[in-house]
């Protein structure tokens, strides 16, 4: 089917699209956005909002672009007078019972009702004198509020829960203009993926309690990133306001997460805003840590690495990037190195309607990347090695009291590249401040060996630097050197030089949706049913 192309003309632009494509998708290819509410590419199309009505030549009526498929030679007018008049009518109908409380609505600024009304709605109301429909706000679930007065009954939330999450707790209750989104009275909207209904809602009717009144949409800076929550590697957008991460939202990637992300990932961002960060390189002198500059710190690190004899151990976080893991591994190169990452485990939570999409048991984003770089997951064994190693490098690992006790007893040199420094690390010779994934550029490799880029979303605290920069500087030798990587992309090239699986790829190749590494499994995330 995909091979057979159909030629259509949309608002004067000719396009060839696969047979069976809906006009609304063909229009995207022609660069024309057909205004719509109920349609969503990851949900079944019910054609109920009637917003996407377009004029199709030789058709007696306006046709819904979301369910009308292209035919050879079809000529479609999205912005003709009859289509615009129909949309103006729909917008007028949608607004008569809408509270127009945009000034206090979280959705304001990213609201499809607001956008389309400004674009092509009527300036005034003809519904004056009549009271608007009123229903009180309802508490749907742990993170979700329903504001029925703003609802336009597009039913995206109902269809997501029924057709994608396979947990039909929402419905359309009542009929006519009394209708509202109802919830099974014996249940809560607490499915592990239920937060998606907030993103799917085109208006401010379904709200996240976590984000409630936190920020106006126009105050947010948006950065393309990858969820650090598990090995699935869902593509996300990090929303920051004044350099503070306030929200994570899914970013479409049809081969990884379609348009969704789980609630665990969504809520797992507060650690990115921690205030108790190490902000300067610390050197142990006279039994305590003192702050220093990077030149001194790097010289001390070089000394420590060169001076340490015997075996080395790397204890890394599974959130560390390919670049950092790779260059740190190269930094400690010697006959005997034990490298391990921490992999916290949790329960798997699949999204029923999308094959191969789940919150994974392994709650780190770069397990596959670490394994390709020679890291293991045998944390306890690595901790035992600490007791005989000449050099221990801790890369932002979350250490338990037992781990810290082991490090305190380590006979060799202990170097910490970390975001926070606890009392338990007081014996470390060096504590060097590193950035979190929100403060650097880098790449992660997901469970299907898809390598994906994430971008810096906020500035780093103090003098913190990416771990790859620290390792790269030391590897390049003292003083300014052209061999020291200045950017994450240069660090990635250095990793590629040492590990062929990453060779020949540039950041540009990865783009915004990543690439499957050679010998990686092909992506098999399926379409929503």
């Amino acid at each position: 089917m995909a091979d057979e192309l159909v030629n259509v003309t949309i608002d004067g632009v000719p396009v060839a699209v696969p047979k069976g494509t809906a006009i609304i998708e063909a229009a995207k290819q022609a660069g024309v956005l057909v205004p719509h509410y109920c349609y969503h590419p990851s949900l079944p199309a019910p054609a109920v909002c009637r917003m996407c009505l377009v004029e199709v030549e030789k058709s007696p009526k306006l046709m819904p672009a979301c369910v009308t498929t292209v035919t050879e030679g079809q000529v479609v007018h999205v912005n003709s007078d009859p289509a615009k008049k129909a949309r103006e009518g729909v917008l007028e109908f949608l607004l008569i019972n809408h509270p127009l409380d945009c000034p206090i609505c979280d959705q304001s600024g990213e609201c499809e009702l607001q956008d389309y009304v400004f674009q092509e709605g009527r300036a005034g109301t003809r519904y004056s004198e009549f009271a608007k429909r009123y229903n009180p706000v309802e508490d749907f679930g742990p993170d979700i509020l329903y504001v029925p007065n703003r609802c336009i009954l597009c039913t995206r939330c109902v269809r997501f829960m029924e057709d994608v999450a396979d947990t039909p707790v929402l419905n359309v209750s009542e009929r006519g203009d009394r209708a509202f989104i109802g919830i099974d009275q014996s249940q809560r909207l607490d499915h592990p993926w239920s937060g998606n209904v907030v993103d799917l809602c085109p208006v401010g009717s379904l709200l996240s309690k976590d984000f409630l009144h936190k920020a106006r949409a126009w105050d947010l800076d948006k950065t393309a990133s990858v969820c650090p929550g598990c090995t699935q590697g869902c593509n996300i957008t990090i929303d920051t306001r004044d350099d503070v991460v306030v929200r994570l939202r899914p970013r479409p990637n049809l081969e990884v997460n379609r348009h969704f992300m789980c609630d665990y990932g969504r809520m797992n961002y507060r650690w990115l805003n921690r205030g108790d960060r190490v902000e300067a390189p610390l050197i142990r002198e006279g039994g305590r840590h003192v702050a220093t500059d990077w030149d001194s710190a790097l010289a001390r690190l070089d000394q420590a690495v060169r001076g340490a004899t015997g075996s080395a151990v790397i204890l890394a976080s599974g959130r560390a990037s390919v670049e950092s893991l790779g260059l740190v591994r190269r930094l400690v190169e010697r006959p005997r190195v034990t490298a391990a990452i921490q992999v916290p485990l949790g329960d798997e939570a699949p999204l029923a309607g999308v094959p191969n999409l789940a919150l994974r048991r392994e709650r780190v984003p770069n397990l596959a990347g670490a394994e390709l770089l020679g890291y293991g997951t045998a944390w306890e064994a690595a901790m035992r090695e600490v007791l005989s190693a000449g050099l221990v490098v801790v890369l932002d690992a979350d250490l338990s009291p037992a781990d810290e006790a082991a490090l305190a007893a380590a006979p060799g040199v202990v170097v910490v590249l970390g975001t926070v420094a606890t009392d338990g690390l007081r014996n470390a010779q060096l504590v060097l401040p590193v950035t979190t994934m929100a403060e650097e550029n880098g790449t992660y490799v997901n469970r299907d060996r898809r390598i994906q880029r994430y971008h810096q979303a906020r500035s780093q605290p103090g003098m913190a630097r990416p771990a790859w920069w620290i390792a790269g500087e030391v590897l390049a030798g003292p003083g300014p050197s052209p061999d020291a990587p200045a950017t994450a992309e240069e660090a990635f090239a250095l990793v590629g030089a040492a590990w062929p699986v990453f060779a020949g790829l540039s950041y540009a190749d990865l783009g915004f949706t990543g690439r499957v590494l050679a010998d990686g499994r092909p992506a098999v995330v399926g379409a929503a049913r």
Partner: protein, 435 residues
């Protein structure tokens, strides 16, 4: 017969011959009256021949749309790969329509026979009869008749020893008007909310449970045995007007006539004959003002239009309305047209399934504006507003419920504008308290 009145000479009694005859309700009584002969004959014919016979008869859907029945049957796949279903639409909820109720009450076997023949013709082994929830007596009668038909081999796994299986399943509605819309009915049968579905896919491709399905009205199916028994040519000959409208039509007449009831007329009978001869004209001292000829969903006709119209699909369209279900609502000169139109709009606002924006919001808004006018608070601008809303509600939604709400509003304003003006000008006492 013009049940509950004696048959009128101008009627052509085919479907309603045994209305009021309790014996016709029983299997034995029905067989005595020639019943089930058509089914036996049909079982000896090929499926294709049956479809051709119905096509040739010119029978068209009696539920309102008037789609040629034989053509609809021919859309079903020739090869039965997946299960085929027949659905009999007995959810007669159209205001002013009560013909299917009488068919089920008095001649249940006429309907069962028609269902069985149609099921065989389209390759279905199962027929759902979706009976309006409020129909208590018809439900009981149909229940008993299906049991009797099963016991006598007219239904079951081996109908009359032909080796063919035809099962009838009675399904009761729960009181939603919209479930009379064929795709909403399919959802309802499946146990889902009765929301109309987007077409395509059409029922013949993916209907009940996603299987090829044909949906026919009670009256349509009840006519089938007569066509099989007496032949397509005979049925086609029942025509006084346009040759595209053949056979007889049950007319449910209610409102301001002397003898309301069901009348069976040949297609093309003058409406004047129905109104004045069969129904006895308006009550004494009154004159007719308006007629809604086809259930509440069609445009209102003035007395003049109604008196000139021939009662068939084309004849009513020629006078600006539609035959619809032939539920005729007659109003005399005592009628407040604004009030009646408001009453209709309120019905549609109540019954809107809430899927499509125009219908959900438009029907309710229209009702509120009419309420405002009736309360004496109307404005001149309300005319344009009502017509604008009606335009936005016509031809833009999944089903035609919102079109049906708009039709009487538009025709009412066109034809009875002075009554609206009287309320707006304060010349008429408000009929409703202010809203």
């Amino acid at each position: 017969m013009g049940y509950p009145h004696p048959s009128h000479p101008k009627e052509t009694v085919v479907l309603s011959r045994y209305f009021g005859d309790p014996e016709a309700r029983t299997y034995a009584g029905w067989v005595k009256r020639g019943g089930y002969g058509a089914l036996r004959k049909a079982l000896g014919m090929s499926r294709e021949a049956l479809v051709e016979e119905v096509k040739a008869s010119g029978l068209r859907g009696r539920g309102g749309a008037g789609f040629p029945t034989g053509l609809k049957w021919s859309f079903m796949p020739k090869e039965v790969v997946k299960p085929h279903y027949l659905v009999c639409n007995a959810d007669e909820s159209e205001p002013g329509t009560f013909k299917d109720r009488e068919i089920m009450r008095w001649t249940p076997h006429q309907l069962i026979e028609g269902c069985a023949i149609a099921a065989y013709a389209i390759g279905a082994t199962h027929c759902y009869i979706y009976i309006r929830g409020e129909f208590t007596e018809p439900w009981q009668v149909m229940r008993a008749a299906v049991d009797e038909a099963l016991a006598n081999g007219a239904l079951g796994d081996d109908v009359f020893g032909s080796g063919k299986a035809i099962q009838v399943v009675l399904h009761r509605g729960a009181g939603a008007y919209i479930c009379g819309e064929e795709t909403a009915m399919m959802n309802s049968i499946e146990g889902k909310r009765g929301n109309p579905r987007i077409k395509p896919p059409f029922p013949a491709v993916a209907g009940v449970f996603g299987m090829p399905t044909t949906i026919n009205n009670v009256e349509t199916l009840a006519a089938v045995p007569h066509i099989i028994t007496r032949g397509a040519e005979w049925y086609k000959s029942l025509c006084l007007g346009n040759p595209k409208s053949t056979g007889t039509k049950l007319v449910s007449v209610c409102g301001h006539v002397q003898r309301p009831g069901n009348y069976e007329v040949t297609m093309g009978t003058p409406m004047r004959d129905i109104l004045y001869d069969m129904c006895g004209g308006p009550p004494p001292g009154r004159t007719f003002k308006a007629v809604i000829p086809g259930g509440s969903s069609v445009p209102i006709m003035t007395r003049e239009e109604a008196e000139e119209a021939l009662f068939d699909y084309e004849g009513v369209v020629a006078k600006g309305s539609m035959l619809g279900s032939a539920g005729m609502i007659v109003m005399d000169d005592s009628t407040d047209m604004v009030y009646q139109i408001w009453r209709l709009a309120r019905f549609y606002a109540h019954e809107s399934c809430a899927q499509c924006t125009q219908c959900r919001e438009g029907t309710a808004w229209t009702t509120k504006i009419l309420e405002r006018i009736l309360a004496g608070n109307g404005k001149q601008a309300d005319f344009q507003l009502l017509l604008d809303l009606a335009e936005n509600m016509t031809g833009k939604t999944i089903c035609v419920l919102s079109d049906s709400c708009a039709a009487p509003v538009v025709s009412g304003i066109q034809k009875f504008r002075s009554e609206f003006e009287a309320y707006i000008a304060g010349a008429r006492e408000p009929a409703l308290a202010a809203v």
